[in-house]
């Protein structure tokens, strides 16, 4: 009864109490009215939207609750008490933190993302203990391949979605806190031009808040000219979310690094056996040669008579008695390296004023003796809201100092065989360390004609000091002109100075050659960056618009000086003086200016947050190109459909998010040195009868057509979340086409120039990427989260901009061979060389081949191309030359994959990262020596054990006898050790190895102790590269000899050995 009464009363009450409520919604911060705010009566479908002036009007019942919602603002609920009300909305900090993604120049809600962008936050980054920013990304993002470097302060290779630029390398564009930053240049090289060393080695990984990787063109086209290799946006930590609280963090860590595996080479006594075997093999090959001895050719039935076989009369073996010396040069040259890291940071402030400052000190030792790097970084930023919160001022200072000794690891040197790593493998175990006063000339006799140095001497005494200072100062002003329009002004100044000083003392081969050799190189790079933008954001009912126009200007100024001197009387002054040198070479000075002007307009629109369109156009103009080709337009368009917002899915219990994306866009690249389009004269000197004169020669051919490298990319993607977001999956498929590829194009040298920077050809990359993240278990105490990604990329050099069938890559190795070629219709940088088919057993087999150099014990090369004379008849002496070569390998991997498992139990946390790669052939340059058995240098034990051995034995008195039981001439895998081998240094499939691997990349265990005053202490232990499963016989399949150079991918030449690292640390948070 009572209820019926109420029931009856209700409509009456409603009618009675209904009234029109009107008012204005303001932004709490700026006190400006907010248009487009959705207002509705809680529990009803009565709603309204604020107009342009923030006003609303809605019919509501007194006592009911009005709900105000606006993107990026905290939802406000207010009870209706009177007919007018003003509402203040605050920015929703927590919501912003969780869902916004930087897309370059501004952030958008992750929900509104239409491009392919991956985000990695500091929480995930912290689990990956590493020395560099790039390494942090390892295994985190599908399609991003990181090539690890063990060298202290050394560069890390990174490639996003395959290789589509040659001259530009694979390095993406790095944007730190909104400012594009340049690679740190290493002062070196005889042109004094410098070489990019480690792009972001000046950033302390501990200072990073989050990293976004922009992969598809819709995302990267925002950066137009330089987005072709992808963009990595780094946001460093700041303090605006502290709410007035002070926070102090100390992070300390110690690491031990060791060489992961040693390569098994001959020990002293076995090396002597090898040396003796060389002589015996050579003797047998000669005396069994029918062209020398005809019917008398030795076959075991004849007596070993010196009057018949003249070789016997002067025969001796080099080591009839053992030297007794046995040194393992790898053990002597490598060390267990200890590194330490301390980072201190403070952050505090509130939404109005905040400050973050950090100091990091890292002391890193390398596993090669005498290599190290010290790094000091500091990062300070202030944020201040001024003028009634309408102006937001941001200032950041990044300072980095690096100081290291690279020893003679010889990265970037042409003659890497003189580098420590190659020498540690090849240097003879029967030599001892140098005594004081000795130089490595004492090794000369055994190494007659070979360029070889004692690796220990090289590591210990060669000085290669690299120092750099990097200052990055930026300032940003964000002005809210109206609630809908923000004006941004940004400026940045980057100053880099690097020095590289080297000295080769006279006890090293190179130092001996020049009687002490010193260089001093210096490079200064100054860059000014300016940016201004207007951003307009508005909602019209169900329509939302987010538009921006940006203009940027960049100006670089580089100067460099390179000095070299020879002929020092003594090593004591090292590189510090040139006065004590007898020959100071003419210094090489470089002054280079280049600039980039860019304009960008972008409009993002969505309807009901279901249908998205993003349109973007950017114009870039670079000083580096020919006069009429300086500017280019880079447009993009992206579409997205939030299918899960549609009625048919909105109520689904399984699917919580389903989003389909498609995008198309163009990006560019201008990675070349300035002045390449101009014809230039370079000074050069000559003397006439000791009178010096200076002349000029034309050193650069003009290229009026030089223009931008352009990449077009199509991307289709799908984001799916099921079971309340417990399982998230992203799939992207892409197709990239890069044309007008910039490259050092080989010219016919008969034109007087053998290379020119030119637009080279067209490359296609296509691929598919999957990533999956699942919260497997989530209870109060126990959590298990797993994420995995896998990426497949295929590339092809579609065509060359000329009539040529192929271009040679750069030469490598002591024989200056050309293993890599760029051939139309083939993957990029395939390996091209001779096919082999075992080892010639005897003269009968060798002579039957018709090949000029066929000799027993030599490698059987396949004669794919029969050499003919002028009449087309086969020549009697066939040669193995380039015409016989075929594709022998492909450095492009079939796929790369990574799996991370994260477990937590109460205060314990453990994460395990596995990375892997299938395919990707490697060309191991050192295998020429290690498996070729062609010189008096050390070789792999396994190669010698499975090599061609003559059926001759020698007793203790040096008497030779035919002995088939010691011989091994058939079915062997390696050629004969011999004193005068044939062509074993040509490129062949014997140097190609499968680069597939699985690595237990990272295990990290931590325990967090919660102390009072909300402070905490976290202890952690981590191991990197604990296990590697691979068939690759070199040090490490993740080769990085030339990690910055796509022309030499997959080439392992004296690369730093792979390492294993253990770290122990603590992190205190107050």
């Amino acid at each position: 009864m009572k209820y019926i009464f109420l029931f009856l009363l209700l409509p009456i009450t409603l009618i009675a109490q209904n009234m029109t409520v009107s008012g204005t919604v303001f932004d709490q911060e700026t006190k400006q009215p907010l248009p487009g705010v959705a207002v509705y009566v809680d529990g009803s479908n009565v709603g309204a939207v604020t107009d342009f002036d923030g006003n609303f009007s809605i019919t509501a019942e007194k006592g009911k609750t009005l709900v105000f919602t606006f993107i990026g603002m905290e939802t406000v609920k207010q009870t209706v008490e009177s007919a007018s009300m003003d509402v203040y909305m605050q920015a929703d900090m927590t919501q912003l933190d969780e869902v916004t993604v930087s897309v370059g120049y501004f952030d958008v809600s992750k929900k509104d993302l239409s491009g392919s962008i991956a985000q990695v936050t500091s929480k995930e980054l912290e689990k990956n203990r590493s020395n560099s920013v790039e390494q942090l990304l390892q295994g985190q993002v599908a399609g991003v391949v990181i090539t690890d470097s063990s060298e202290p302060g050394g560069g890390t290779g990174i490639s996003i979605r395959g290789t589509n630029s040659i001259l530009g390398g694979t390095q993406p564009l790095y944007v730190v806190d909104g400012i594009p930053i340049d690679p740190l240049s290493d002062a070196e090289g005889n042109a004094g031009g410098g070489q990019s060393q480690n792009s972001i080695s000046n950033i302390n990984p501990n200072d990073i808040d989050k990293i976004e990787v922009l992969k598809d063109a819709a995302a990267t086209a925002v950066y137009g000219a330089r987005g072709a290799n992808g963009v990595v946006i780094i946001t460093t930590k700041s303090a605006s979310d502290q709410g007035g609280k002070d926070s102090f963090t100390v992070n300390a860590e110690t690491k031990i690094t060791e060489v992961a595996n040693f390569i098994d080479v001959l020990d002293g006594p076995t090396f002597e056996t090898y040396m003796n075997q060389r002589a015996i093999n050579k003797l047998f090959i000669d005396i069994s040669d029918p062209s020398l001895y005809g019917a008398n050719a030795f076959d075991g039935s004849q007596a070993l008579d010196p009057t018949v076989y003249s070789e016997l009369s002067s025969f001796s073996v080099p080591y009839p008695t053992s030297t007794g010396v046995d040194n393992n040069w790898q053990k002597l040259t490598y060390q267990n390296a200890i590194s330490s890291d301390v980072n201190i940071s403070y952050r505090g402030g509130n939404a109005q004023n905040s400050v973050f400052t950090s100091l990091g000190i890292q002391n890193q030792e390398g596993v090669i003796l005498n290599t190290d790097n010290k790094r000091i970084t500091s990062n300070t930023n202030f944020r201040k809201k001024a003028f009634n919160n309408k102006v937001d001022i941001f200032m950041r200072t990044l300072l980095a100092y690096n100081d290291g000794n690279a020893s003679s690891v010889a990265n970037g040197q042409i003659f890497q065989q003189r580098g420590v790593v190659s020498q540690a493998l090849q240097f003879q175990p029967i030599f001892s360390l140098l005594e004081p006063g000795q130089d490595d000339d004492i090794y000369a006799e055994l190494n007659e004609g070979n360029v070889i140095s004692n690796p220990y001497t090289l590591a210990k005494y060669v000085q290669d000091h690299k120092k750099s200072v990097n200052l990055n100062q930026s300032i940003g002003v964000f002005i809210k002109l109206t609630p809908k329009v923000t004006w941004t002004l940004k400026g940045a100044y980057n100053y880099q100075k690097s020095n590289r000083d080297t000295y080769y003392p006279t006890n090293t081969t190179r130092g001996r050659r020049n009687n002490g050799e010193a260089t001093q190189a210096y490079l200064e790079n100054k860059k000014i960056y300016g940016e201004t933008s207007f951003r307009y954001k508005n909602n019209f009912g169900k329509h939302r618009i987010d538009a921006i126009v940006v203009g940027t200007v960049e100006k670089n100024n580089i100067r460099a000086l390179y000095n070299k001197a020879f002929g020092y009387g003594s090593d004591v002054t090292s590189y510090y003086t040139f006065e004590s040198a007898s020959d100071v070479l003419v210094p090489i000075a470089q002054f280079r200016d280049f600039g980039l002007l860019s304009g960008l307009a972008r409009v993002g629109y969505n309807y009901k947050r279901k249908y998205y369109v993003d349109i973007n156009a950017r114009i870039d103009a670079s000083s580096k190109f020919a006069t009429n080709n300086k500017s280019a337009i880079f447009p993009s368009v992206a579409l997205a459909w939030a299918a899960s917002e549609e009625d048919f899915l909105r109520d689904s219990d399984i699917i919580s998010n389903l989003r389909l994306r498609a995008s198309y866009g163009k990006t560019g690249s201008n990675p070349i040195a300035p002045y390449q389009s101009l014809a230039l004269m370079t000074p050069i000197r000559y003397n006439f009868d000791d009178n010096l004169v200076t002349g000029y020669y034309e050193s650069n051919l003009a290229n009026d057509d030089l223009t931008w490298e352009t990449t077009e990319q199509f991307n289709a993607g799908l984001d799916l979340s099921v079971l309340d977001g417990k399982i998230n999956m992203t799939v992207d498929a892409y197709h990239k086409k890069t044309y007008d590829l910039l490259q050092n194009v080989n010219l016919p040298a008969s034109n007087g120039y053998y290379s020119i920077v030119d637009n080279f050809g067209e490359i296609e990359n296509k691929g598919i990427e999957f990533s999956l993240n699942a919260a497997v278990l989530n209870t109060a105490d126990f959590g298990w989260n797993t994420s995995a990604n896998i990426a497949f990329n295929r590339n092809e050099l579609v065509q060359l901009n000329s009539n040529l069938d192929f271009q040679l890559g750069p030469s490598v190795g002591f024989s200056q061979a050309y293993p890599a070629v760029f051939m139309a219709g083939k993957p990029l940088g395939i390996f091209w060389g001779a096919q082999t088919d075992g080892i010639y057993a005897d003269w009968a087999e060798a002579n039957a081949s018709g090949i000029d150099e066929a000799v027993p014990g030599e490698i059987k090369y396949v004669n794919n191309h029969v050499d003919v004379d002028a009449n087309g008849n086969p020549l009697p002496n066939q040669q193995i030359n380039f015409d016989d070569y075929v594709q022998i390998g492909d450095p492009n991997p079939d796929f790369t994959a990574a799996i991370t498992n994260n477990f937590s139990y109460k205060n314990w946390n453990m994460s395990i990262l596995l990375t892997g790669q299938k395919g990707g052939d490697l060309f191991w340059v050192d295998s020429w020596q290690m498996n070729g058995l062609q010189k008096a240098t050390n070789v792999k034990t396994a190669a010698f054990e499975d090599s061609w051995i003559a059926p001759l034995s020698m007793d203790a008195n040096g008497v030779l006898a035919y002995n088939p039981s010691v011989g091994s001439t058939t079915g062997v895998s390696h050629p004969a050790p011999t004193t005068d081998p044939g062509s074993r240094a040509i490129v062949s499939d014997r140097q190609i190895f499968d680069g597939s691997f699985i690595k237990l990349k990272n295990i990290n265990i931590s325990y967090t102790l919660n102390l009072k005053n909300s402070s905490s202490l976290k202890l952690f232990a981590a191991a990197n590269n604990l296990f590697v499963w691979t068939k690759y016989p070199g040090y490490d399949p993740e080769v990085q000899s030339y990690n910055k150079d796509p022309r030499r991918r997959g080439i392992d030449f004296g690369s730093y050995p792979g390492t294993r690292r253990f770290s122990l640390g603590l992190r205190f948070n107050y």
Binding site: A444, G449, N450, T509, R512, R513, N514, N515, T532, F534, G551, V553, K555, G567, S582, D583, V586, F591, D593, G595, L597, G599, S623, P674, Y675, A679, L680, M681, I684, R685, Y686, N687, F688, D689, D690, L692, G695, Y696, Y697, E698, L747, P748, A749, S750, N751, G752, Y753, S802, N803, L804, Q807, L808, S811, A817, E853, L875, N881, F882, I986, V987
Partner: protein
């Protein structure tokens, strides 16, 4: 709008102004530019490691019968050079860089307003250099691309030209040089011809060498030497070319600026590092102790670590005992006085053995015997003042007067088919070093040619002529076998020329 304003304001950001380098358009305006361009062209002779500074010299040595060079030259020793050989690319590239510079001068200098006599000399020298580069190319590689004007941007590579066309350019260039180059140290119109520049006599001497090569290679081709078959394309008779060789040798000798030295001591002294540009040297690549003006010649040919050359790995080019025993007269005073007879390195001493074909080695400190070294070093390039690998003052002698005498001797004997015609010139060289006269009376032409090669060998060994002498005389196979054995010494017709390097053929779609 703002962006547009931004662009306009910053327009100069996009302009390139390379302050450290001149653009070619600004160059070639004055007399100074003409001379500076010419200096640049000379500098290419030894700027890179591939040409007269290093590799080319070792290539020529290793390709001959004289002995081994470094381990990198294994294919030259064995006659198995393929297009990927690392020693081909740089010499090829650098010869064509020299041609590029000469072409630029020949195309640009005529329009410059300057002293006409000097202008003629500049052009004459540029043609001399271009002739020399093409002569080296055609001798080493045979048919090669023949570019005689500056390359235009975007232009592709040329196909190879028949050797007759290449030789025609060489002859035309050297003829012009023989007229327009000046005499040794000559002064005209107030300008002095610097010592070290190409002279008119040097151009004649080189012309004599060109004609003699054509003549002798054609002669041997006619007698069945397949390696010289291309020379059958030359239409004139061999006598025509021998006559030209003789005429230009006469012109070089009679020009009067150069003279043979008088005695053995003076002859030894022409190889002194400080006696570059002596009166026997017609054209030298200039070495100097000035910064970066040194050569590697001393380092390449002198024993290492013995104070006879700069530091480091030297002595890659040495004489094989079999060359000494069989292919020259090792008792000739010119050989005996131009080899290193004894030296010491850090711990060992080396003394020439009694056969003059190797060294007896002992431990310096104890005097204990320490085996033998089966090779002999020349003393022609010793430079004790060189501090490093590239700081020798030693010049490289491209052509010297003794060579011209021997060329004339050969041409005269071939013209008359009578060895006696050669007696005067050959003996002039022998008499000045105190060697007995050579008796050529009654000798057959075949024996004469053998004797002439021995004379050329003993006078000019290790001066870069031997490989060319063996090929043009058609005896390449025979002589190399004597030294390197039947296996490694064997030479085919294809070995008379080196293959064009892969770097060229792969970038030039007009060459296979």
């Amino acid at each position: 709008m703002i962006t547009m304003a931004f662009f306009t304001a910053c327009d100069d950001i996009l302009e390139e102004n390379p302050v450290v380098q001149l653009s070619t358009e600004q160059f070639y305006q004055t007399e100074t530019d003409a001379l500076a361009g010419l200096t640049g062209a000379y500098a290419q002779l030894k700027d890179g490691v591939g040409y007269y500074r290093q590799q080319f010299l070792s290539n020529l040595h290793a390709a001959s019968d004289q002995g081994n060079s470094s381990w990198k030259h294994g294919n030259f020793r064995k006659g198995t050079i393929v297009s990927t050989d690392q020693n081909l690319r740089n010499p090829w590239n650098e010869m064509y860089r020299g041609i590029r510079d000469a072409n630029n001068i020949i195309a640009q200098v005529p329009a410059i307003n300057m002293d006409e006599t000097l202008k003629a000399r500049v052009l004459g020298e540029a043609k001399f250099l271009r002739g020399l580069h093409y002569f080296n190319l055609v001798r080493c590689f045979g048919e090669v691309p023949l570019r005689t004007s500056p390359v235009q941007p975007g232009e592709g590579g040329l196909t190879v030209s028949p050797i007759t066309e290449v030789y025609q350019v060489i002859i035309d260039d050297l003829m012009a040089a023989s007229q327009d180059c000046w005499g040794f140290g000559e002064t005209k119109n107030g300008f002095t011809n610097d010592i070290g520049r190409a002279t008119n006599a040097a151009a004649h001497a080189l012309l004599s060498k060109v004609y003699l090569r054509i003549a002798s290679a054609k002669r041997t081709a006619q007698s069945g030497i397949e390696g010289n078959a291309k020379f059958l394309e030359f239409t004139e008779t061999t006598a025509f070319y021998y006559q030209k060789a003789k005429d230009h040798a006469d012109a070089a000798i009679n020009q009067g600026d150069y003279a043979l030295v008088g005695d053995l001591d003076s002859w030894v002294n022409i190889f002194s590092p400080t006696n570059g540009n002596s009166t026997e040297m017609l054209f030298d690549i200039q070495g100097s102790s000035l910064t970066e003006q040194g050569t590697a010649v001393s380092n390449l040919f002198s024993p290492r670590g013995a104070g006879l050359s700069g530091g480091g790995w030297g002595g890659t080019n040495k004489l094989h005992p079999k060359f000494i025993n069989f292919n020259i007269d090792k008792n000739d005073p010119r050989f005996q006085n131009s080899i290193v007879r004894a030296y010491q390195d850090a711990s060992k001493s080396y003394v020439l053995n009694n056969n003059s074909n190797g060294y007896v080695r002992s431990i310096t400190e104890t005097g204990a015997a320490n085996g033998n070294l089966n090779m002999v070093y020349t003393a022609k390039y010793v430079d004790s003042n060189a501090t490093t690998e590239y700081t020798s003052e030693q010049n490289w002698h491209v052509i010297r007067l003794a060579d011209v005498y021997l060329m004339r001797a050969e041409a005269m004997a071939e013209l008359s088919q009578n060895p006696v015609e050669a007696v005067d010139d050959i003996n002039a060289l022998r008499q000045r070093v105190g060697a007995a006269d050579l008796d050529l009376i009654g000798m057959s032409m075949d024996d004469f040619r053998t004797a002439l090669l021995r004379e050329r060998g003993v006078e000019l060994y290790m001066e870069g002529h031997r490989f060319f002498d063996l090929t043009r005389m058609g005896v390449y196979n025979e002589y190399c076998k004597t030294v390197h054995g039947n296996n490694f010494g064997a030479r085919q017709a294809a070995d008379y020329f080196w293959p064009i390097p892969l770097t060229e053929t792969s970038a030039n779609d007009n060459i296979d």
